[in-house]
Symmetry: none
């Protein structure tokens, strides 16, 4: 029995939908474990995965009987088959955020569906609460990330370029059990660190730099996300002041993260504290992590969102002084009833390398 699909069918029934066309590959992986290209249909009675000749073998070796999914080769499906998949269905859900306008038109025509109905992130909402296996995978990804940071403290030297460091992170991940990086690594040194989303350059690490490293890996499809800002040589007092302010807020947020906490209030508290010091929080304080590096719940200053047990989120305040430097400190944490468990555990006090 596929519990994730069963739960989804319950939600569809509650909205009077008799089936769903699932086009988001991440959601297909979540529900079935399948990573191949294709389309998942929940028809009235069956779960059908449509793929092409290139992937049939791979998909069949991924699925077990428990997954309860029938695999079709797209070239074996006739016009009539398409028209029959959703007969006697009134409303069929689709993923309005994961289908192009062109495909929407094509499917509506091909499947002859009366009413294709937006599902408004129904599967994404289901994904926010992680099960035991998902948590285990995220923990493992976080462990590898911590080990990689340990390694970086030895590896980073004056003269190495940002690109070399980013590549070393990738190499480390791929040779230490991770599938790959969870996202494009940020290694931003000196003035580059003032850009929250800097792309690694050929800039060489120099004495006096602060270096912001934002990185994470993927394990069984699940992501980790961590940022540390480290120093080559003792940082200036002006930099330390900013670092201390960021760290203070990161630690305070860690204390506040638990079931029931309101992400809007947490975000405002950090922004207010930054503002009283003349700065502000220019990006979200955090976001959910799972099969995607950024997923629900999203932290926002504008909307109330409440945490629940077994959500996994980041906590990543940052301050950026244009053309000078930036500081960001980020952990991935698991929400519990009474607090949270930090899954990334690398040093957060000044890491000062002598280069």
């Amino acid at each position: 029995m596929n519990l994730k699909i069963k739960c989804l069918r319950g939600k569809l029934a509650g909205k009077n939908m008799q089936g769903m066309i699932i086009t988001n590959p991440i959601n297909i992986r979540y529900l079935t474990g399948i990573t191949a290209e294709g389309l998942l249909l929940l028809t009235r009675r069956e779960n059908i995965f449509i793929t092409d000749a290139r992937y049939i073998e791979e998909v069949n070796s991924t699925l077990t009987i428990d997954d309860d999914v029938i695999v079709y080769n797209v070239s074996d499906i006739s016009k009539e088959d398409y028209e029959n998949f959703f007969t006697f269905c009134e409303n069929i859900g689709f993923e309005e955020n994961h289908i192009t306008y062109a495909k929407y038109k094509e499917y509506k025509h091909k499947y002859i569906i009366n009413n294709l109905e937006e599902t408004e992130g129904m599967i994404e909402a289901q994904r926010v609460i992680k099960d035991e296996k998902e948590i285990e995978y995220i923990k493992k990804a976080c462990q590898i990330t911590d080990q990689c940071f340990e390694h970086l403290l030895q590896y980073i030297k004056i003269g190495k370029t940002e690109k070399e460091i980013a590549f070393e992170i990738e190499r480390y991940f791929k040779t230490h059990g991770a599938e790959k990086e969870a996202f494009d690594t940020i290694v931003a040194s000196g003035p580059n660190s003032s850009k929250p989303h800097a792309i690694p350059t050929d800039r060489e690490i120099a004495y006096g730099d602060c270096i912001t490293i934002d990185f994470g890996c993927m394990y069984e499809g699940y992501c980790s996300d961590m940022t540390r800002t480290i120093f080559i040589g003792e940082p200036k007092e002006s930099v330390k002041k900013v670092y201390d302010l960021v760290l203070k807020n990161q630690l305070q947020t860690l204390k506040d993260l638990k079931e029931g906490a309101n992400l809007k209030i947490l975000s405002k508290m950090v922004d207010n504290d930054f503002k009283t010091h003349g700065y502000s929080l220019i990006h979200a304080l955090g976001h959910g992590v799972g099969l995607e590096i950024h997923e629900k719940p999203f932290f926002s200053i504008y909307t109330d969102h409440f945490l629940k047990e077994n959500m996994v989120v980041t906590n990543e305040p940052g301050i950026y002084i244009p053309n000078e430097f930036g500081v960001r400190i980020e952990d991935t944490v698991l929400i519990t009833k009474s607090g949270c468990i930090t899954l990334t555990n690398s040093e957060k006090n000044y890491s000062i390398l002598e280069g």
Copy 2:
């Protein structure tokens, strides 16, 4: 003056569209050089890039006055601004294959557009003819790829795994001026080489293997694409026969590639020659290369497509004997009025390593 946008505006005018919403990041890069997340609007008189605080600095440092693009921070745009962008416009183009159904609905409402009109790959069609700078970038990507192949002939030894070789290619690219791989490298050895799209495995290279390596890099966003099949030890006569047949067809196609050539006829000629020897061409003979590794023009046995000067395409016949071996030989070439210029120039006669 931004010539690419000027040309696009001419095409839009020809279809009675007074503006366009551009959502495909590749097309935004093509038109403006911008790689940051955001939306490009061609309004009646202005070119507007809407992004958020994270990217403003980066975008402004990418753009020059010549680019003729105004940058907006999304948080500074009011409801009225949105409604004014396309006032007095009858028809506004959009990219139906690069916008989700949800965004389509959102934009239609937010910009109050009378008629959002499908543009059917208008920018992709413009991209097929490369300008001087684009050709220079592709040439550079091809050069790095050739140098990487030279390096591989030294690097590959009996006992190395497919994954190790693929990773070495990635390392080479990133440390020799390329941004990254243009696509997931294929290193398929021994029987794995019979799968045209094999994923590198932990299989170790052994004496007697043939190894198909399909790889390319990205330089300033532009791709190269090359395949060579090499041997560890003298290949068997049966393998040589297939190799010679593939090579003969690759060289013949090179002679035929020029302005005016019909891709359908070229594909059929190769397929016919393969068939007279008991094989067939199971994938496309080639495809366009540019900002994307696969782009227009696409070679097909079913549709007439004619080459034009300054298109860049691949030429990649291959034969695959299931569970035994496969041979593919591929170059990236630039089409000229009278012929073509091969941009990848690695050895195509048997490369036999002693392991």
